[in-house]
């Protein structure tokens, strides 16, 4: 069969298809998003975006109970959301195989924290596999499903941003035909009331003992003896860095981080002079090896913060005397360079909302999504962001906590469906008076425009039912609800001003259709150079389509503005903020796409 260059995520999808997976679910989240996007391209697999990771995992668990091989994927913090389901599924076991990908994000490329989800395997008492390249990622899905069926347990597959996004060559294979297993009613196994769950716990403990024995012979745990002066225990992306930095050392590569193979570790430790562990984030292996009474070094050499790189590993190893030379460092200094922090796209409706929030000097409890960029200069109008859905609960808490000043919650459509809805219901139920602004861009923007219940677009490209946010919010008892397109800025500002004066929980829906899934009504705007005096007002909206021009205003000796016609999408915020009418609106487009047409 063919060989292809695949990312780890593409390989996981291919592996799930080859292993006969029939049902898969996820909520998008970097670095895991592409797994389900790729898996959805195979017609044999039912694949969906669920409203959140817990819903996705429950769906996969249900499919496995029903007898079909099932698969769920999520980012590291997604498993926090789904963890309750992981824990009960550890007790109930499965029927057909169930593999769950957790994609960790050392270095916080796109996350609110760094957490090491190897702990979840130990915590929930389930096995975990960890690939170090795309071929292993593909192969480990089949291995995970076989383990899952043999040991009647969900199986975790842990990637990191590096293994999920790096590409390497993968040998493809055909899809295996896996017969459906019959579902047999068995409440003692599948109903976790205390009386039944109590009897499952000893089975879980006994299962871990059998898995521990298996870990000793699992072929993904590989011993490589070379120079016995140095032995390195490692896994995942770190294994690849170990091969680069310690090409002559002996290696114990753990394809199964949990349960760990005590026998193999003891044998390896007995043969090498100096034993080290190379692992990103927590000293998960190191603590275990030390608990076996073996002398080992790890976090005394390598950091427990951030993502590794070959030069970081070499530098740390050099300082510990493990290698002869530090990484190459040029003596040339460039000094601080202008950064390119992420910015809201040109024409993004979230900019209008945060422009108004800043103007009104509101305290903003925001949430996870593109609109988190409202914290960046020059908008700078965000006070708190924690995790998916936290905006509403934290806003209610600040209100109950006697906050001086007026706060609002800001949450996106996808995030609202993910975890905002229970918080709003709670606020309504308890009558906590504050305003929730739902910035409804009709897509899951930050992860690359996936569908959600509010867009109605499904992962398979179909048109599902679109949940009407305004009707939903009214139905849970919010009496004061107003929907305003963000382009009607004066109206939106007045609506927010009125809403925050209310003594009841209330909602403003700011319609901010994403520029990637909609089109504005106007052609690009332009600066009338003769009227611009370089006052910088339009610079301060932080639009990436607005630049300093090379033409100077002679009176004030400052550059006039220029709008890049390639980047401008014609939203008109700059037109609204310009005090000198120096910005010319683009012409109305002949064929403007109405917002309604996108969902």
């Amino acid at each position: 069969m063919e060989k292809l260059i695949l990312s780890g995520n593409e390989a996981l999808a291919r592996g799930a298809w080859e292993a006969g997976v029939e049902v898969a679910a996820a909520y998008p989240g970097t670095p895991s998003t592409e797994i389900l996007e790729n898996l959805s391209r195979y017609p044999e697999v039912y694949a969906e975006w669920s409203a959140n990771e817990k819903v996705a995992l429950d769906l996969a668990i249900g499919a496995a109970y029903a007898g079909r091989r099932a698969f769920a994927a999520m980012k590291h913090v997604g498993l926090n959301v789904a963890s309750e389901s992981l824990f009960y599924a550890s007790y109930t076991g499965v029927n057909a195989g169930l593999a769950i990908v957790t994609a960790d994000d050392p270095g916080l490329h796109s996350s609110q924290n760094e957490q090491d989800n190897r702990h979840y395997a130990r915590f929930a008492k389930v096995p975990m596999l960890e690939p170090s390249d795309s071929q292993e990622a593909k192969d480990m899905v089949a291995q995970a499903l076989e383990l899952s069926e043999t040991f009647d347990t969900p199986v975790l597959i842990r990637t990191t941003t590096r293994t999920s996004h790096a590409k390497s060559i993968v040998q493809l294979a055909d899809r295996s035909q896996v017969p459906k297993r019959p579902y047999l009613k068995n409440p003692q196994k599948y109903v976790m009331i205390p009386g039944f769950a109590r009897k499952r716990h000893p089975l879980v403990e006994e299962r871990m003992l059998r898995l521990k024995a298996l870990a000793e012979t699992y072929p993904g745990n590989r011993l490589h003896y070379a120079d016995l002066g140095l032995g390195v225990i490692t896994s995942g992306a770190s294994y690849q860095y170990a091969r680069e930095v310690f090409p002559d050392a002996s290696l114990l590569k753990l394809g199964m981080p949990w349960p760990m193979p005590e026998g193999l570790i003891r044998e390896f430790a007995s043969k090498v002079e100096r034993l080290i562990v190379l692992e990103e984030l927590d000293p998960f292996f190191e603590d275990f090896v030390r608990s076996m009474g073996l002398p080992v070094e790890g976090k005394s050499i390598f950091p427990s913060v951030g993502e590794f790189s070959p030069e970081l590993v070499r530098q740390s190893a050099y300082q510990a005397g493990l290698v002869d030379r530090p990484p190459y460092r040029s003596q040339v200094q460039v000094g601080p360079l202008p950064m390119r922090p992420p910015v809201l796209c040109a024409g993004c409706g979230h900019r209008d909302v945060f422009w108004i929030l800043r103007k009104l000097k509101l305290i903003v409890n925001s949430d996870i999504g593109c609109y988190a960029l409202g914290v960046m200069p020059p908008l700078g109008s965000t006070d708190t962001i924690g995790c998916m859905g936290a905006s509403i609960g934290v806003a209610a808490g600040m209100r109950r906590g006697g906050l001086e000043g007026t706060n609002v919650a800001v949450i996106g459509d996808s995030t609202f469906f993910h975890a905002g809805l229970p918080a709003l219901a709670s606020a309504v139920y308890n009558g906590t008076p504050f305003t929730t602004i739902i910035v409804d861009n009709r897509t899951t923007g930050m992860t690359g425009h996936q569908g959600n219940p509010g867009s109605g677009l499904t992962l398979s490209g179909g048109r599902g039912h679109r949940v009407d946010i305004e009707a939903l919010v009214r139905a849970i008892g919010v009496e004061q609800v107003v929907s305003v397109p963000s382009t009607r800025r004066e109206e939106l500002e007045a609506a927010i001003q009125q809403a925050v004066r209310s003594d009841r929980p209330n909602v403003v829906i700011a319609e901010t259709p994403c520029v990637f899934v909609s089109a504005s009504e106007r052609e690009p705007y332009a600066v009338a150079l003769e009227d611009c005096n370089g006052c910088t007002l339009c610079f301060r909206i932080g639009c990436p389509a607005i630049y300093k021009s090379e033409v100077m205003d002679e009176k004030h000796n400052r550059p006039k503005a220029w709008i890049d016609p390639q980047a401008c999408v014609g939203c008109g915020l700059c037109y609204d903020v310009c005090a000198r009418q120096a910005i010319l609106p683009g012409a109305l487009k002949v064929e403007a796409r109405p917002v309604e047409a996108i969902a």
Partner: protein
Amino acid sequence: MKKLNFLLAGVGGQGTLLASDVLAEVGMRAGAEVKKSEVHGMSQRGGAVTSHVRWGDQVASPLCEAGTVDYFVAQEKLEALRWIEFLSPASTVLLSDQSLPPTSTVFGDDRYPDDEQVLSTLRQVASSVRRVPATQIAERLGNPRVANSVLLGALSAALDVTEEDWLAVLASRLPPNHFEINRQAFLAGRQGDWAI
């Protein structure tokens, strides 16, 4: 095959990832083990993007180590300076003519480096720095978006892979109606004929 490390750097939306996919695939076609890794922030557009591509008989890390890049393709001038820790005197730099000033140079006091600063800094680190008027050529061909193919063409001139292999990979990666203009851009870069 000799081990080769490539680094491509640009700004989101410039096609860094597509260019590096092509480069990885060309390596596989030429019989190498290849690995590739992208590093980008969370912005959809406008953030700094790098892509590491490695060819060799055996490749372990998908990331190049600092100071070990053989060929550095800078699609944007400020980004050319951002990654000089990856360069050494053995590096060859292909520097595009594109400037994309970040927003901090617009609303803040950050200054975008001038051409002289970019070139002299790169020349202090790497012994070979070649300016490629990629966007100029692309615009003359009628589409500024084919600047990447000009850069890949310029890179290809230094590598021991046939023109047919490069064009076959380009053809497999591009929609058919975009191939011809990209082929012309690639060949312009490969021939080093800036005066087309």
